[in-house]
Amino acid sequence: MCGIVGFTGNREAQGIILDCIKRLEYRGYDSSGVAIVSKGSLELRKSVGEISVLESHLDKISGATGIAHTRWATHGKPTTANAHPFTDCKGEYALVHNGILTNYMQLKEQLVKKGHKFTSETDSEVLVHMLEDASGPDLKSKVLSVLKQVEGSFAIAVVQKGHDEIIAARNESPLVVGVGHDENFVASDLTALLKYTNEIIHMLDREAVRITPNTVELFNLDGETFERQAKKVSWSIEDAERSGYPHYMLKEIFEQPRAIHESLLGRLEGQEDDSFLRDQFTSIKIIGCGTSYHAGLVGKYIIEELSRIPTTTQISSEYRYSPVTESKPLVVCITQSGETADTLAAAREAKKRGCKTLAITNVLGSAITREADYVIYTRAGPEIGVAATKTFITQLIALYLLGLKLGGIKNTISSERRRVIVSDMRSLPRIVQSVLNDAAALETLAKKYKNAQSMFFIGRHLNFPTSLEAALKTKEISYIHGEGYPAGELKHGPLALLSKDTPVVAICATDHTYEKMLGNVREVTARDSPVLAIGTEGDQDLCKYAEDVFLVPKVDPLFSPVPMIVALQLFAYYLAIARGCPIDKPRNIAKTVTVE
């Protein structure tokens, strides 16, 4: 879980690769480094901490070819020695790597026997020492011969002293090529490159590329060359900037009405192709990790409500190792980045088990789109904040659309009900906007609750997953121990933990579980816990039971998770602000999890 960048052109590389790598900080930021091919030498600089630390004590290195890396430690601690790039014993090559080599121990032993001196504890360093020993007429053939011997996942970029070429390759870790004018790029993610070019070539597994300032040569790991057209990406760099907002997370929360609108565009008339949903399957399994898993949990209720197809949701890394059962469900894989290692592996496993797979992802051309049989894109635009917000909302939208389609195919919703649902979905951007308009009230509430050590989030039915997601948001950005719980389960344990110092956030949608929720709120207040109840407009009872109340606009209960989670995202954000937390870069976690 790291980010890599490479540049070769006719201008100074240093500023450009630093600028690009900064945009990959979301992939990890515990150490970073650059290597620049300078006149007569190969210059390496590394440091621990965010990229701004590296930048602040970097001297000027002249050279028009360079690579950079931002690291999130997997093998070896975050130290300067373990930071990339690595170089061989003679200082001939420099290499950056994202991924995990599974057979590096054996390789390292052999290399050490041959007398190679290792400077780090990482798996990645073996590659560059192997390169030193590799034979071949040029860098390309040497890299290919090295990659034949390694097992595991990698996206690498290599430079050589005195050369203006970069060789990059991928297997199970993301890599894109950016095509510019008299300059070319490689990077883990296209957002790193958008400032410089929007002509992007997506690389697939076991493919490699050789770039020079004027050429892009694509080949597979067997050395056979091939052609692929660059795609023009419509995301602009502006999309990836904070534009006036103090944090990406807040910017992205406020972009949700637009993201919902975009995700619905042209999809409500029922004219899209749905033939793939007419295949034979009698059940659905949704898999995902983290926030995507929570979207999947909501998806279970949506799909069962609209189509009556039995649906289960499972965490990707658990599905993968679960026993093969008789049924062959449609497997819906949810991953924002499309590169989540656990979900990719689970999708492969599902295919192996003979299931059809449907991916829900935000990134065009990402790895999951090549693994899955069918794809529904969420149209959230790039999300930089580590805490997922607009991508979660658009995943829900994709699941509502899926439920609606399945309901149509299974004939479980009448045309009138369908009309009402479509009209309700159209009102969602507006409803979310209304919640955002009340952000100041949530800021005030957050200030009141900021000193909590631990906090419970309870909900029922569709809003049980909402409570899990709200707890996750709170955990990851405000570092308060948040615990999501089905409200009915409180009395089976967690009540023991409640006291006047453990606030409880109760999600009280006006649906068939409302009365029960009120009962739970009473249960909690009886233990002296302060209660913040999130209800819907027109609810006049809630304030009798809860200490604090925040009301969201009224929607059909089916859609209640949408306004509820937006309110709770804001609550978590303002909690983190009140506690002075580094919101866009929480400790120990990264945006895209490309390790298992």
Binding site: S236, I237, E238, D239, E241, R242, S243, G244, Y245, K251, F254, E255, R258, H261, L264, L265, G266, L268, E269, S423, R426, S427, P429, R430, Q433, S434, L436, N437, A439, P553
Partner: protein
């Protein structure tokens, strides 16, 4: 040359349309008013733009981003308390280290207006227009090609030369402005009044477009002017049997169904579902994600995003804010009327109804011309509205 746009105020006189966003963000021809201001600057190669934001600033920041999609580099400066436009301009001081242009974000202008202001060359000046209603604005007194005095709003008969609020100024103006603000006077024209004693400020007569929406019903005219210059986009699905006359723009993902007639200029946003058999006449703007059901007639109106209008409705010379939902058979026709705005009555020719955001109406509602309906209000089925409805009220 740098520019600063003042966009921090709410624009209270435009209520109910400033309930959740500032006046500068009100859409005409499907772009916010300030969108035209930013584009006019970029047309004149002024790309370093500072926007002073305050009231509901997120709406502005989410819309303009960092300016890249407008070809500009936008910096935001926050004015925490909206004390006055002089105070707002002072907030941008550190970003303005050379001669600059200051513009209000809430007047519709075009590229010509900005180039008029630039035509002064090395000197400094204020963009002015002759107006037959000077009482609504601050006016300038002229003395041989320079401004000798500035008189505040409602100065009777003093001059018909109106200040547009657009200026070209040197940084030395900030010293005067700072003194005023520190003395508790936050009004920009008061500081200018002092400043013209020291430095020559030329009046520059605006040849380009300049329209300011002072009252909410002015939006209909501003929208008309904006539509005249709006670019045309043709996307979406237009079914067979749709009749289109004149300039009609349709956004992506929009469906226009059979039997619908569109007489331009009309601008329709993205993701709308219109028809079948709807008639829309000039000059009408319809935002994003709007549904209009069969047999509805709309003329010369502004329908903002996320509205839904049921079948058999009639809407003329009207403005619907965001997310207004109407069941069916709405009668909102237009006539000359007296409009009650904050307990003052204005005689407005040919006006329909002005509806604030998220208002919900049942079926068969009929609304008297010149009525203002507050945001988040509810009008029950069969309701007959003859008087203004306050925010959040239920009218049965």
């Amino acid at each position: 040359m740098k520019a600063v746009i003042l966009a921090a105020g709410e624009g209270k006189r435009l209520r109910p349309f400033t309930y959740s966003e500032p006046k500068v963000m009100i859409p005409v021809a499907n772009r916010s008013i300030m969108d035209y201001v930013v584009r006019s600057l970029v047309l004149n190669h002024i790309t370093d733009i500072t926007i002073v934001v305050g009231y509901r600033k997120e709406r502005i920041m989410s819309y303009f981003g960092d300016g890249a999609s407008f070809g500009a580099e936008i910096t935001y400066v926050n004015q925490d308390k909206q004390l006055g436009n002089g105070h707002a301009l002072l907030a941008a001081r550190e970003h303005l280290d050379e001669d600059f242009i200051a513009l209000p974000g809430d007047s519709l202008i075009d590229g010509r207006s900005v180039s008029d202001l630039l035509s002064i060359g090395a000197g400094y000046g204020a963009l002015v227009v002759e107006s037959d209603m000077p009482a609504k604005y601050g006016v300038a007194l002229l003395e041989r090609n320079r401004m000798s005095d500035i008189v505040e709003k409602r100065g009777e008969g003093a001059s018909n030369i109106v200040l547009t609020g657009a200026y070209k100024l040197p940084t030395s103006f900030f010293d005067v402005l700072e003194r005023c603000v520190e003395g508790g006077d936050y009004n920009l024209s008061h500081a200018l009044k002092l400043y013209i004693q020291e430095v020559k400020l030329e009046p520059i007569f605006c040849q380009g477009l300049w329209i300011d929406a002072v009252y909410p019903w002015d939006l209909i005219e501003v929208n008309h002017a904006a539509l005249a210059n709006a670019p045309i986009q043709t996307a979406g699905t237009i079914e067979a049997g749709v009749l289109i006359h004149g300039k009609v723009s349709v956004g992506k993902g929009t469906t226009i169904r059979a039997g619908t007639t569109l007489y331009g200029p009309i601008s329709i946003g993205s993701g709308c579902d219109i028809g079948p058999n709807v008639s829309i006449f000039s000059s009408t703007s319809i935002g994003d994600n709007v549904t209009i059901d069969p047999f509805t007639v709309i003329r010369n109106s502004v329908i903002m995003s996320d509205c839904g209008i049921g079948s058999h409705s009639m809407l003329s010379q009207s403005v619907l804010g965001y997310g207004v939902k109407v069941r069916s058979h709405l009668m909102a026709s237009s006539a000359d009327a007296f409009v009650n705005l904050e307990e003052e009555f204005y005689r407005v020719p040919n006006i329909g109804t002005l509806v604030g955001e998220d208002c919900a109406m049942g079926s068969g509602v009929s609304i008297e011309p010149g009525t203002i309906i507050g945001p988040k209000s509810r009008i029950m089925s069969g309701g007959r509205v003859t008087r203004n409805v306050p925010t959040g009220a239920i009218h049965s």
